[in-house]
């Protein structure tokens, strides 16, 4: 969690396009995420939020345009320990038991410390699990945790890295109210310490409310970005997003990005 003083933008996209089978999933995106910003990428399902986020991490190739990470093109960027990525779930729910502690600590494994014993790993893992209220679960099987607890363990996983930039994919999807509150306070703390936070979400709630800048995606003639500016969102955009919120329960949490309640959802 060391915060670099160098004022270099963690992410900069210029005229970025991502294509799948010849179709533009992300089109003409120009954006710069400044250090210390708390940004929420919002949009209806199918507007390419997750694809945009994956493109910013270099996980999806750009069909056109450029990506710079900390002012370096992807090929020449090696400071990966500055970025912590929290996916929705671990891809490989494999057949071997994996403990919560092992999942969390795995974020510390990289080419940088290949030949060095990880002396701080144990302590950092313990602290990170305490920070997400999962102290004492270190030795349990990861798959014995509930969905919300697994998500919190994934946040702990991000906390043990030495990152100053956190990228989260739908961090609140399908998790209980207690975990949402817990998550919001962890992210607020990270943000207060000057870290950059970028999250993708389709629901407005306690977590998205922390964002100071919103990027709303949709389909227009001039690219994928409908809105890029400070929160709260302009009225006409709030409805677009809120309407697609009905498949997840926010556990009774308020949705302060909106002035009006969600009662008018269809």
């Amino acid at each position: 969690m060391s915060v670099s003083n160098a004022p270099v933008a963690p992410f900069a996209l210029r005229r970025a396009c991502v294509e799948f089978d010849g179709e533009h999933v992300v089109d003409e995106v120009d954006l710069t995420i400044e250090p210390g910003e708390f940004v929420a990428i919002l949009g209806e399902n199918g507007t390419g939020k997750t694809t945009l986020m994956r493109a910013m991490l270099g996980l999806v190739p750009l069909a056109h345009g450029t990506l710079r990470l900390f002012d370096k093109p992807l090929e020449r960027f090696h400071d990966w320990q500055r970025i912590a990525y929290v996916p929705q779930r671990l891809l490989a729910a494999g057949n071997v038991p994996v403990s919560v502690g092992e999942v969390v600590r795995s974020a510390r494994f990289s080419p940088h410390n290949r030949f060095r014993p990880d002396r701080e790993g144990k302590r950092r893992t313990q602290e990170a699990l305490e920070a997400v209220a999962l102290a004492g679960r270190q030795r349990d099987r990861f798959d014995s945790l509930s969905g919300g607890q697994q998500r919190r363990a994934m946040i702990a996983r991000a906390l043990v890295s030495d990152a100053d930039t956190y990228v989260l994919d739908e961090p609140t999807a399908g998790i209980d109210a207690e975990s949402q509150t817990q998550l919001a306070s962890t992210l607020a703390r990270l943000s207060e310490r000057g870290n950059t936070i970028l999250l993708v979400t389709h629901e407005l709630g306690a977590v998205a409310d922390l964002a100071t800048r919103a990027i709303v995606l949709g389909r227009t003639d001039h690219g994928s970005v409908l809105y890029d500016g400070p929160t709260p969102l302009p009225l006409h955009l709030r409805h677009d997003i809120a309407h697609h919120d009905d498949d997840h329960h926010t556990g009774g949490l308020s949705t302060p990005l909106l002035d009006d309640p969600l009662s008018e959802s269809p």
Binding site: P87, V98, E102, V103
Partner: protein, 275 residues
């Protein structure tokens, strides 16, 4: 009749214990990545190396290692290029491997075909002193590679995307794991045989994972079970006068239901801890 009074049995036992430790260590990663059948395929590919050795009249360990390593790299290149055609391409390489082995061995003459069986199902009598040195060296390489790269390979086996964002070279690590599987296959070739060697990579892991809660403890227990299976299997092979491959695999398979029985009270207790 004490089997250890024979020099060849001492060598066979050492060779079996080496594969009993090494194969499950690699197998744990393969099972986690859902590549349990990869070892099987690597065994087929290594067979071509054995056939080439017969044809050239050289030591099979070196040629099997080279051919299996080349096969491992080709497999990874194909898998990286295409997700869908990968499965089919793997099958083609595996068939090619076994066909190549039988073809080259047959070209080497009648002696070759007979000797091939020893490599398919293992043999008690064929482990030479120089083989043992080669096996020990390969085993050492596997352990050094795991100490240096094992943590990154673990992160990769959890999630490819997060591993990439951590700066881990995922294609490189993936290839390294497949090459390690090839090494384990060659280490097991003499005692367990190429057709059954992947069993000693996978079955101890399947037994161990019923009792463990972490990746590291699964690895450790699988290696212990691998050594037990190799020792028990080799001993039975000697007294029953049958090839060691099948007895080692049966010994490993027998550990599976035993582990399942032991797991019942352990699971019950854990459920009480965290209802």
């Amino acid at each position: 009749m004490n089997m250890l009074s024979y020099d060849f049995m001492q060598r066979a036992l050492i060779a079996a214990v080496i594969v009993g430790v090494i194969a499950p260590l690699i197998g744990t990663y393969l099972v986690q990545r859902r590549l349990a059948l990869l070892g099987d395929g690597m065994g087929h590919v290594a067979l071509t190396g054995v056939g080439i050795a017969f044809l050239l009249d050289t030591a099979p360990i070196a040629t099997a290692m080279v051919v299996a390593a080349i096969g491992a790299v080709i497999i990874e290149v194909i898998r990286a290029r295409s997700r869908t055609a990968g499965d089919l391409a793997l099958a083609l390489i595996f068939y090619g491997g076994i066909a190549g082995g039988v073809l080259f061995a047959s070209l080497a003459g009648g002696r070759g075909t007979a000797a091939l069986t020893q490599y398919l199902f293992g043999s008690l009598t064929t482990v030479s002193a120089s083989d043992l040195v080669g096996l020990a060296l390969l085993a050492l390489i596997v352990i050094v590679v795991l100490v240096v790269f094992g943590r990154e390979m673990f992160a990769l086996s959890l999630d490819v995307d997060t591993a990439r964002v951590q700066g881990i070279r995922t294609t490189g690590m993936s290839t390294l794991l497949t090459v390690l599987a090839a090494v384990a296959v060659v280490v097991g070739m003499r005692t367990v045989g190429l057709l059954l060697v992947s069993a000693i990579m996978i079955v101890p892991v399947a037994a161990a994972q019923q009792l463990t809660r972490s990746f590291l403890s699964t690895m450790a227990l699988a290696a212990v079970l691998g050594v037990i299976a190799a020792t028990v299997g080799l001993t039975s092979s000697f007294y029953l006068a049958v090839p060691p491959g099948p007895t080692i695999v049966f010994a490993a398979l027998a550990l599976f239901p035993i582990a399942a029985l032991i797991a019942v009270p352990i699971r019950k207790r854990r459920r009480l801890e965290h209802p």
